[in-house]
């Protein structure tokens, strides 16, 4: 069941419930008041008649005693009753008189036959009893008491027709029902609009989720309200933003992984082609000394390349932070050691390399840090023209090291990719130096351990600056 329909249905049920409880309480209270009023009136009436007759009785008794010609007690009472019955000009009122054998001696009713009269049972002198009874479709109150006349007990009943009061109640209920139906129609109409209006943002959200599920991650909802649904919509949009960012990131990672695998396959296939090809060729062709040694050399060289590649891959995949000990070292020492290692290459291209600036110390794993600097300086050498220069400047205030070359430089597209494994800007050049394009990827990992930020500034044909910011003095120990 949809939420707007639930809202709709429950509000209608609630409305009806409250309406009817209120109506019931009002009508019943009113009815009870009227009834009580009428009962009091009837009791008073009964009392009046009773008193009137009782007052007459001593006079009659005296008359009976002194006159022979007087009426019997019963007749006297009947005539008395007649007077009362005719004097009260009311249709709703009846009188009855029974003798002590419960035989009717006077009655102006036309309906009381074979009706049990609980009010007459156990009736005692000087008390009265009343009861309200339904007879057919009408209701009556019966008020009874005992009249004493010449030592005889007579039962006197006053009956009043209360049907009007009950009819009035039914009429009120009937009227209210009509009123209720009118209200209900209006209420249902308004509530339909309201519940739809209130739940509309929810259906908007639902639509948006469906679209997002189908892959339209740019889908957003526009719900402008400060209520919970508005907040939900805002949060939903926020969540969608997050998801789409995450998905983009995952996509990018996936692409990266794909490139990694492609590159790795390429890097493996190339030496393997040579190794397998030469081994096969040498095995199957007629012996020729020149070809034989040439082939063996290729096999050896390509085998070495595979070995290098596998070692570098191992480095890349297996270095883990907890397997290193971090100690405090001076950056300048590391730099000059790295330059020393690269000396032959620097001389080969007759590059002028300068190390300037004040030293600062940092927690590091010395060997890794050396690999780190060697890789960057080596790349700078590769990018440099002959007889050019490389400047390594250390800034102790900002804890920065900047390696600047004045070589070939690169465009933005290349800058974005140089830290990816196997990425080579100039494939043939790198190959000739036995590189596999893993150096900078390794550097990224080392930088991660040491909390070093790497920034690259480069311009095509002008040179490249690598800015290394040592973010905290603890090096890798921070998380260790």
């Amino acid at each position: 069941m949809k939420i707007w329909f639930k809202l709709y249905l429950f509000s209608i049920i609630l409305f009806s419930l409250i309406f009817w409880i209120t109506v019931f309480v009002i009508i019943e209270t009113f009815h009870n008041n009227t009834l009580t009023q009428q009962v009091t009136n009837s009791l008073n009436e009964h009392q009046n008649i009773y008193n009137g007759i009782n007052m007459d009785i001593p006079a009659y008794e005296k008359l009976q005693r002194y006159s022979r010609d007087t009426l019997s007690s019963t007749q006297t009472l009947v005539s008395s009753f007649n007077v009362y019955a005719s004097n009260y000009n009311s249709d709703n009122f009846y009188l009855e008189l029974y003798n002590d054998k419960q035989e009717v001696i006077f009655s102006n009713t036309n309906f009381i036959d074979n009706i049990s009269r609980e009010d007459l049972n156990n009736l005692k002198p000087n008390t009265r009893q009343y009861i309200i009874k339904d007879i057919g479709d009408r209701s009556y109150i019966f008020i009874s008491s005992i009249l004493k006349f010449s030592d005889d007990n007579y039962y006197f009943s006053y009956i009043y027709d209360l049907t009007n009061i009950y009819d009035e109640r039914s009429e009120q209920y009937n009227f209210t029902l009509k009123l209720y139906l009118c209200f209900l129609v209006v209420f249902m109409f308004l509530m339909f609009i309201i519940s739809n209006f209130l739940t509309k943002p929810l259906s908007k959200l639902t639509q948006a989720t469906i679209k997002i599920t189908k892959g339209k991650y740019s889908e957003r909802v526009s719900v402008r309200s400060g209520d919970e649904i508005g907040i939900l919509a805002d949060n939903f949009n926020h969540m969608a933003d997050e998801i789409s960012t995450k998905i983009d990131k995952l996509q990018e990672q996936n692409n990266e992984k794909q490139r990694f695998i492609e590159n790795l396959t390429h890097e493996l296939r190339t030496p393997l082609t040579s190794i397998i090809g030469y081994a096969d060729y040498l095995q199957r062709s007629k012996y020729d000394e020149k070809v034989f040694y040439e082939g063996l050399e290729y096999i050896h060289k390509e085998g070495q390349r595979l070995q290098q590649l596998s070692f570098k891959l191992m480095d890349l995949l297996l270095i883990k932070k907890d397997s290193f000990e971090f100690q405090k070292y001076g950056i300048k020492d590391i730099c000059s050691q790295s330059i020393g290692t690269l000396r032959p290459k620097i001389l080969e291209k007759s590059i002028d390399i300068e190390l300037i600036g004040d030293d600062f110390e940092c927690y590091m794993e010395q060997d890794l840090m050396q690999v780190f600097f060697i890789n960057f300086i080596e790349n700078a050498i590769r990018a440099s023209y002959e007889d050019s220069r490389i400047i390594i400047s250390i800034d102790s205030n900002n804890q920065q090291v900047t390696i600047t070359d004045y070589g070939i430089g690169m465009d933005q597209e290349n800058i974005d990719k140089i830290f990816e494994p196997f990425y080579m800007i100039d494939k043939s050049r790198t190959r000739s130096e036995n590189g596999a394009g893993l150096g900078l990827a390794l550097c990224t990992k080392i930088a991660e351990f040491h909390h070093i930020k790497i920034d690259v500034v480069s311009e095509l044909n002008k040179g490249t600056s690598i800015v290394l910011t040592f973010n905290n003095n603890q090096g890798g120990n921070q998380d260790a």
Partner: protein, 218 residues
């Protein structure tokens, strides 16, 4: 007439390997190690076929392909990339075939031959010393005399001549002549080689290569 094939491959090792294999199969070869040189060579000379690496310095294989398309020279792409998209792109550009590294020499030669045949650049006549095989007529002549060979003997001598100077394993020969599903064992190969040696007087030329198989030597 020997066919001239251009090998465009930046890895000297692989380039030389291909050269060795092609030369022993009797092709002329030329080598280029980057896209630019290759383009210059192609525009200057005539080649019957080009073996083209995709990842090349300066001009990559696909770009080069587009530039030489109008020359209508059959091209086989050589690449280490094996994914389907690359393959499709290469073939869409009009390459005749696509070979993924690492490849077997015999496969490379077979593909080259198929393409040259399609371009009608293959001799219908194979020659080895005084033996002449007319491929279209299925006739083998020695000193202009027709030699009677069974179908399998004929196929065997064709393969040996096409791969002269290269040893072929018994398994390879079975695969090529008798197809994969042959279960008879390598003994059959030895028997057929024996017959060929006798019928064509090739005792000296068909060498038994230790542990491998046979090689037809000039």
């Amino acid at each position: 007439m020997k066919r001239n094939i251009l090998i465009v491959e930046d890895e000297a090792a692989i380039s030389n390997l291909i050269k060795l294999n092609l030369q022993s199969a009797g092709y002329y070869t030329e080598q280029a190690y980057d896209g630019e040189t290759a383009l210059a060579l192609i525009l200057e000379n005539t080649y019957d076929l080009i073996l083209l690496d995709v990842m090349l310095p300066k001009i990559d294989g696909f770009t080069l392909m587009q530039k030489i398309e109008h020359l209508d020279i059959p091209v086989i792409f050589l690449t280490a990339k094996s994914d389907v998209i690359n393959r499709v792109e290469g073939l869409k550009l009009g390459a005749e075939d696509y070979i993924v590294k690492p490849f077997e020499a015999i496969e490379l030669l077979a593909r080259i031959e198929t393409i040259l045949r399609r371009f009608n650049k293959v001799n219908n006549i194979l020659r080895f010393k005084d033996i002449e095989i007319n491929v279209s007529e299925h006739i083998v002549r020695k000193n202009n005399e027709i030699i009677d060979l069974t179908l399998k003997e004929y196929e065997l001598i064709c393969i040996l001549v096409k791969n002269k100077n290269i040893a072929l394993s018994r398994e390879k020969l079975i695969e090529l002549v008798w197809n994969f599903d042959y279960l008879g064992g390598t003994r059959t190969v030895d028997m057929h080689i024996g017959t060929l040696r006798r019928k064509l007087d090739l005792q000296e030329n068909i060498k038994t290569v230790y542990k491998i198989g046979y090689r037809l030597e000039e």
